[in-house]
């Protein structure tokens, strides 16, 4: 039983390509925009992680019964379906909401 916390940025696949790895030659405006895009990227990553916490919270309650030695296939399928149906639901709601707005304009 390991407490391997494989939840870092690495579990999102690739860390963002470091387009800001090598500092661009001089120029204060460039330094600024580099920092700006870095912060935007980090903020997006934080938002994504927050969404995952929320999703996992919801789907854990729906899919996981008693914690077992290993995650079984049924639970895994349930978790995957849960995530995809949640996204479907969000898209459906957003679409209908957009329709409502259009109708009332």
């Amino acid at each position: 039983m390991s407490y391997d916390t494989g939840f870092g940025a690495s579990s999102f696949g690739k860390p963002p390509p470091s387009s800001f790895g090598a500092p661009p030659p001089g120029g204060q405006g460039q330094v600024d925009s580099e920092m700006k895009s870095f912060l935007e990227m980090e903020s997006q990553k934080a938002q994504l992680q927050q969404q995952i916490h929320k999703l996992n919270d919801v789907c854990w309650d729906l899919c996981v019964d008693k914690p077992r030695e290993k995650m079984d296939g049924r639970t895994e399928t349930c978790l995957c379906n849960c995530v995809d149906r949640f996204v479907d639901t969000s898209l459906l709601v957003a679409g209908r909401f957009q329709n409502l707005i259009n109708k009332h304009q």
Partner: protein, 88 residues
Amino acid sequence: MDFSKLDPSKKDEVMDQVKQQLALANAQELLQKISEKCFKKCITKPGTTLDSSEQRCVAMCMDRYMDSWNLVSRTFSNRLQKEAGRLS
């Protein structure tokens, strides 16, 4: 804070700090969720101590919660990429 006045080494330091703080916030959120979820699953009748079967349950629950987190993370990221591809 005026970032344009930062020299490059200072800037790297600030970036590292931002990353570290976000990682810390993420870990804290995870910790809090695990405590809450696993308490609910494993301690149904709180006794005078945390007995060994409860401790085993909590340990297992913690591992499974992280498995679940990683699976949800992967599934969600894949879906986002698919949706982004559909838009472009």
